[in-house]
Assembly symmetry: C2
Homo-oligomer: 338 residues x 2
């Protein structure tokens, strides 16, 4: 097994604004012999997620920045194909953070076993993984949905949004999602079963977006699940009901900003309406992982939660999959089949 050559994607340069192909380089490495306690994993699926853009800036955040010349990191699922660790014998399926590559060596400190009988492998990078826990934890803990309330979700067909929408439906809410284009909107109402979808790409101004969302939310907004920022947040603040909650999950519209993005100028709405805006990341809800896995696996099995995945093939296409996230070029959870 020692002559295994693995393709990997490295950070060639830090993106300025929207990432481009030049920011990435494909490399091949020969996998070294395993040390004691190590395992060799053949990755089957890789995930790309918007938060990774933040790690491409050279600045301190809740995760350290990626380093130029080093392989990128991110969620991956694969199978142990060589092992010097009795806890992870050959044939074990695992979830880990050494994505953007075909093979990974891991000393078993940040390795999570997965049960492939629960759901297809790639689901552990989406609905049963980090995006799923993000949706579940953020909506239930900060959003606190109550039956009959109206939940507005941006990036509603995305990895997190599609789950927020469907969990909110399960909780008895009226759910309105925004997405770019008719195809995504149709999927949301016809397959995911939400109450209304707004095509934000058909709205030329914030005012048009607000008019469309207002029409879809005749009783106002009780929870806005924030994935986007910008005009979507402005709109949600204007249409929010008193005591509305805004789980702040992401502001993808600002991640590639080269100049200071246009700011939010109606935050004073927060005061009179007693709105709560609260940021979170998936790690915060690790304590809910058992409930989450049980609920989500059950909902997928029962068909209450439908999954939309967007798959590219080959590790060499991981940068393109990543770039799609920022142009709305993906439709559903963006995945790479190695």
């Amino acid at each position: 097994m020692n002559a295994i050559v693995s393709k990997e994607i490295r950070l060639a340069s830090r993106p300025v604004g929207m990432p481009t192909a030049d920011n990435f380089e494909l490399a091949e490495v020969t996998m070294p012999d395993l040390a004691d306690r190590q395992v060799l994993i053949r990755n089957d699926w890789l995930t790309v997620d918007p938060y990774m853009r933040g790690r491409m800036y050279d600045m301190k955040s809740y995760v350290p920045p990626f380093q130029i010349g080093e392989p990128l990191q991110g969620g991956a699922v694969g199978e142990v194909v060589e092992s010097r660790n009795d806890a992870f014998p050959v044939g074990t399926f695992v979830n880990h953070m050494d994505g953007w590559r075909e093979y990974a060596i891991n000393d078993a400190t940040m390795l999570q076993k997965i049960d492939p009988s629960l759901a297809p492998l790639q689901t552990f990078l989406g609905a049963l993984g980090m995006p799923g826990l993000t949706a579940y934890g953020g909506l239930l803990t900060i959003g606190q949905p109550k039956e009959g309330e109206t939940v507005f979700v941006s990036a509603a067909s995305g990895a997190v949004g599609q789950l927020v929408c469907q969990i909110a439906k399960i909780k008895g809410c009226r759910v309105v999602g925004s997405a770019g284009g008719k195809e995504k909107c149709d999927w949301l109402t016809e397959v995911a079963g939400i109450d209304a979808a707004v095509d934000y790409k058909a709205c030329a101004t914030q005012g048009e977006l607000q008019a469309a969302v207002a029409e879809a939310c005749p009783k106002g907004i009780d929870i806005y699940f924030e994935n986007v920022g910008g005009d979507h947040l402005t709109t949600a603040l204007n249409l929010a009901n008193p005591w509305a909650r805004i789980p702040m999950c992401g502001t993808i519209s600002t991640y590639n900003a080269m100049e200071k993005p246009e700011g939010i100028s109606n935050l004073s709405m927060v005061i009179g309406k007693r709105i709560r805006m609260e940021g979170f990341i998936s790690f915060d809800y690790i304590g809910m992982a058992d409930d989450f896995t049980r609920d989500m696996a059950g909902w997928i099995k029962s068909g209450e939660v439908k999954l939309k995945e967007d798959v590219v093939e080959g590790v060499e296409n991981t940068p393109q999959a990543f770039m799609n996230l920022f142009t709305g070029g993906n439709f559903g959870k963006m995945l790479v089949k190695v």
Copy 2:
């Protein structure tokens, strides 16, 4: 008593941008005879507060808009001088909402008796009144100050800010306030006893403000008590520690905006830092009123809370007192002695 003539201030026109003297008119009315259950109150003190600017817009909010040609409303304390209500005999001191006038007739539905032995009368419009409950409820409930944390307060010498600063000190926090000008900053550090004060008027840019606040908050900001908006909020988000809380009390920098104010463009900080921003108004903390009155009266008596008041005399000067709030022309709780 029936020939009493009362001066009152009416809304002459809705301000566009900063309020001007033209927006107000002084009128005289002869007080009518009392109906059953009514009392006639001679106002001793009136209060002006920033939230009143919102009621000058013709739009729905948590309180209805002021009407043109009608006397303005606002907190006032006075003495019952004529009564047809046994619950409020002549000589009773009361707190009520018919301010901006010398005399008021009230049918005793929104009338609160006050105990003038607790503190000087005007204190019931400040530290023992709405601004006090705002400071106490917002800081303790949303802010949840813990010993050793750093609390940053904007408009720190104002009616609410001065109390937030001193309550946070009592709770064992490092307290940094921002105010306009050396005199206010000196009062904050030398009289109110906070740890550092930043003169925002000496900062030409947001970057300068941030540098000054960062220097005063070497361990970052755990609680930002928001009275101002704009560059202050941008600064606080940039300097906030993980899990920071931002009680959103006011954004006075935006209240007179004629164009869309420059927005907040770093809200993505909220996510990775898990910041909670939450709006509130004083009414929300009515349930804490007994604790509040006991604590605050005690702190004033013990000297742990020092009060700074800015007094103008004569009902005819109420508009000027109000306008001072938006130029920083006041220093301390703005009051009118009738």
